[in-house]
């Protein structure tokens, strides 16, 4: 498991969360005997929410935490702004230990540094969209004029111009979640916590919002913790992905890492159904020319072969390979560095490289 860079914007160090009145006893036992979830429940009436998690999220990174319901991903992310207190371990934000803040400092940090988006949107139904977006500013006693200005600007960012005076229940689910996003962005926080933000939306709208969010984060460079139960989404959004199971992180890595090198059966099962077309690149599936020619076959003249670069993905290679008898030659700086045969291409699509 990669620990990542210890100087990240959001760092968790050996965070444990055990729910139940006898959490302290339980944590010792779980550490010592490596109790399973069921055993912990039976012996201590305690539920292990998060089990020894250490992650580090770098600046501007979109760090996806993927897991099924009950895997502890939402619990973990609520530790970051201390909506939940860890049983042990510490959480650092820009090097500051969140556990050491007093109530007022904590509120200031939540309001200024961290924006959060919820699966349930959790908008205030009695306030207009504008007042919802400006909520965090209002909590910090910003004057109404500035509030309205900032809110209108952010509403524009999520393309909801003209909806400022509407009430949330007049908006569709997708638009409501945009309001949720705008609310999180209003205070211009360094960190975004996205708690399954798009899970409740239907697939087309989800897709659209994912793209928009990617566009936004390219320009805004916010450090993002993105929770999802959908591996496709994690792969689309994430710079890096951490896969959680029963409160533990089973694998952390880039999307390609995870797809090509699943750490265990559990991850492999997940990855099995994923389309690799946009995840695997030519440099992974190509073989050196010498090995290709070792079997006695000769590479046809270069100008008769389709050509690609090492950073082209499988999707592009497939496009080049159709209607061609010759293999695809991978060129780097004008010289051929490898060959991708149709066999290798098909294997690559299967994820076996």
């Amino acid at each position: 498991m990669t620990q990542g860079d210890a100087n990240g914007v959001v760092v968790t160090r050996n965070v444990w969360k055990i729910f139940g009145e006898r959490a302290d006893e339980a944590i010792g036992a779980v550490r010592r005997d490596n109790l399973s979830k069921a055993e912990g429940l039976e012996r201590f009436q305690a539920v292990v929410g998060v089990k020894d998690v250490s992650i580090s999220v770098g600046e501007g990174e979109i760090f996806c935490i993927m897991g099924l319901s009950g895997s502890g991903k939402s619990t973990l992310v609520r530790h970051v702004n201390r909506l939940i207190e860890p049983t042990s371990g510490e959480i650092l934000i820009n090097g500051v230990n969140v556990g050491d803040l007093d109530a007022e400092e904590l509120r200031a940090m939540r309001a200024d540094k961290i924006g959060m988006v919820f699966q349930s949107m959790a908008l205030l139904p009695h306030r207009t969209v504008r007042d919802n977006v400006a909520f965090s500013l209002e909590l910090r006693n910003v004057d109404p004029f500035t509030r309205a200005n900032v809110a209108d600007r952010v509403i524009g960012l999520v393309s909801l111009q003209g909806y400022g005076d509407r009430m949330p229940d007049e908006l569709s689910g997708g638009m409501q979640q945009r309001v949720g996003l705008a609310r999180a962005l209003a205070a211009d926080p360094d960190i975004l916590l996205m708690g399954e933000p798009f899970s409740a939306l239907d697939p087309l709208i989800r897709r659209g919002l994912q793209d928009e969010f990617l566009e936004l984060s390219k320009t805004m460079k916010k450090t993002t913790l993105f929770i999802t139960h959908d591996l496709d989404e994690a792969i689309r959004m994430g710079t890096r992905i951490a896969i959680m199971k029963d409160g533990e992180i089973v694998q952390t890595g880039t999307p390609e890492d995870i797809v090509t090198n699943p750490a265990d059966e559990y991850v492999a099962d997940f990855v099995a159904g994923i389309s690799k077309l946009k995840l695997i690149y030519a440099h992974t599936v190509m073989q050196p020319i010498e090995r290709y020619e070792r079997d006695g076959t000769r590479l046809p003249p270069l100008h008769e072969c389709p050509q690609a670069t090492p950073d082209d993905d499988l999707d592009a290679l497939v496009g080049l390979a159709v209607n061609q008898r010759n293999p695809v030659v991978i060129m780097s700086d004008g010289t051929p560095v490898g060959v991708v045969t149709k066999d290798a291409l098909l294997r690559g699509i299967q994820g076996e490289v």
Partner: protein
């Protein structure tokens, strides 16, 4: 389709003896082909004995009740025939007793016949339900077991003799029993029968007598200070029972508190009176044309044109029948009581909604407050605050407060957790959470609470007229005392109109807010 015998097997296993009959019947019940008038003959003849052996104790109770009522009626026939013979010299008594005895004879026959028929009709249907329970849980009674008759016999032996004895005897007079009690206490001999009658078939007997407590009074000494003076009861004063003793103690404590801490109650009374004076000066002090216009304008603004037409009609009724001032009096009382209810009830409701301890402390008190009949609130109000409008308002406040507290708490508790979490995640402090999230989201519930408070205040204010709160209720009480039905009816209609008026306006207003 399963084999017929396979299908019947569990039924037979459950019913035991006579299994094939029950298998047939249960199958018909399952197929919905059981005849509408199907009855179980064994059950009709056997009655509670059948039910006991089959182990269905609910059916047993039904059958036993049928037989018991029959027997009781027969017992009454015996009692009244005997009374007719005993009083043969008084023709009118003979006639009366014979009439009664005939009525009870007819009742006995009807109850027995109809009861047994209904029981026999129920028997198979309820026995089938027992079968369903038995299928899930094999410890449910099944089969036909004779030893269950022992339990049945025990019940019969315990119940029947007492019941029959009770019905064949004239019940003893209460005063006679008290006299007899005292006689026994002084060592007189009393026949067993009259002792038994007093103990078991009359009022619950007085188990013990208590020495009469000291007489307490609060006279002034030479310096004008009040002090507690106890006078022991005279030597031959009869002892008292628990009720008299305890009520005397309560009276004494209330007397003590009002004598030595009267200034507290006077303070509260002054406060209430001041508040009421201010409100009354608005409602009654304003000349009626202005007040009427103001009320109509308010109702138009809050509830729209339609309701305003109704309000106008009601106001005209009140004015035409000469209830204007009294109605405005009542309105001031309602407004005063409602304001206090909201001012006290809202924070209390928030506390109950947010804190576990608050809920544990306040909920039982509210339960008691809502169970006590409204009349009872008048007693402490009089005891501590004497009569008049202020104690009337207090009784009203106590009566009308619970819904405010409850509905506020309900509203606060129903604010979705994730909305609160979101507010916290954006850095809300507890006060901001309350004022910007919880209270606004609880507002519909709070408005419903206010509506309830106003309606309950009105009903209590009318009752409070009994302790001199005045207003519309006074007209009704006066009408009751002088049996002036017509006046009472007119005032009653006036009160109803007042209530509907307030209810419509407040309800429409809170609905409009929600939208």
């Amino acid at each position: 389709m399963a084999d017929e015998t396979d299908v019947r097997k569990p039924f037979v296993e459950f019913a035991g003896p006579n299994g094939s009959y029950y298998a047939d019947t249960f199958l018909k019940i399952k197929k919905n082909t059981l005849g509408r008038y199907h009855i179980n003959l064994a059950a009709m003849v056997g009655g509670f004995i059948w039910a006991a052996m089959r182990g269905n104790w609910l059916l047993f109770v039904i059958a036993f009740a049928v037989d018991l009522v029959t027997l009781v009626n027969l017992g009454l026939v015996y009692k009244y025939s005997k009374a007719a013979v005993d009083n043969a010299d008084k023709a009118f008594l003979v006639e009366r007793f014979e009439g009664w005895s005939q009525t009870h004879l007819i009742s006995a026959i009807v109850v027995l016949v109809v009861g047994r028929l209904v029981f026999a009709w129920l028997a198979d249907r309820m026995y089938a339900i027992q079968f369903e329970r038995w299928r899930i849980n094999r410890s449910v009674n099944s089969g036909r077991i004779v030893s269950r008759l022992l339990i049945a016999a025990l019940v019969v032996v315990l119940v029947l003799p007492m019941m029959l004895y009770r019905t064949t005897q004239f019940s003893p007079e209460e005063r006679g029993c008290i006299r007899q009690d005292r006689a026994i206490a002084q060592g007189e001999q009393v026949p067993f029968k009259s002792r038994f009658d007093c103990y078991f078939i009359g009022e619950f007997p007085t188990l013990f007598w208590i020495q009469r407590p000291d007489e307490v009074s609060y006279p002034r000494d030479e310096s004008g200070e009040r002090y507690v003076k106890r006078t022991p009861p005279s030597a031959n004063a009869p002892p008292v029972n628990l009720n008299t003793y305890t009520s005397q103690a309560i009276d004494d404590s209330i007397g003590y508190v009002t004598v030595f801490y009267g200034f507290l109650f006077d303070g509260v009374t002054q406060l209430l009176r001041g508040m009421l004076t201010a409100i009354t000066s608005v409602f009654v002090g304003t000349p009626w044309p202005l007040m009427m216009c103001a009320l109509l304008y308010l109702s138009y603004k809050m509830a729209g044109a339609r309701t305003t037409i109704f309000v106008a009609a009601s106001l005209i009724y009140l004015a035409m029948f000469g209830f204007w001032k009294t109605a405005m009096d009542t309105m001031s009382l309602v407004v005063a009581a409602s304001i206090i209810c909201v001012v006290v009830g809202l924070p209390l409701g928030i506390w109950v909604g947010k804190s576990n301890r608050g809920r544990v402390i306040v909920t039982p008190i509210l339960d008691v407050m809502q169970t006590i009949p409204s009349f009872v609130y008048l007693l402490p109000a009089i005891a501590f605050f004497s009569i008049g409008k202020p104690p009337g308002i207090l009784a009203t406040v106590i009566f009308a407060m619970p819904p405010m507290v409850r509905l506020t708490a309900l509203g606060i508790q129903h604010v979705p957790d994730n909305t609160k979490e979101a507010a916290l995640a954006f850095g809300a402090n507890p006060r901001q959470l309350l004022t910007k999230v919880e209270l606004p989201l609880a507002l519909p519930s709070i408005m419903a609470g206010i509506n309830q408070v106003v309606m309950m205040s009105l009903s209590m204010v009318v009752i409070a007229a009994l302790i001199g709160a005045g207003g519309m209720g006074y007209v009704v009480t006066e009408a009751l005392e002088n049996t002036e039905t017509g006046r009472g009816v007119l005032a009653g209609i006036g009160i109803a109109l007042l209530a509907m008026m307030i209810d419509r306006v407040v309800q429409k207003a809170s609905k409009a807010r929600r939208r």
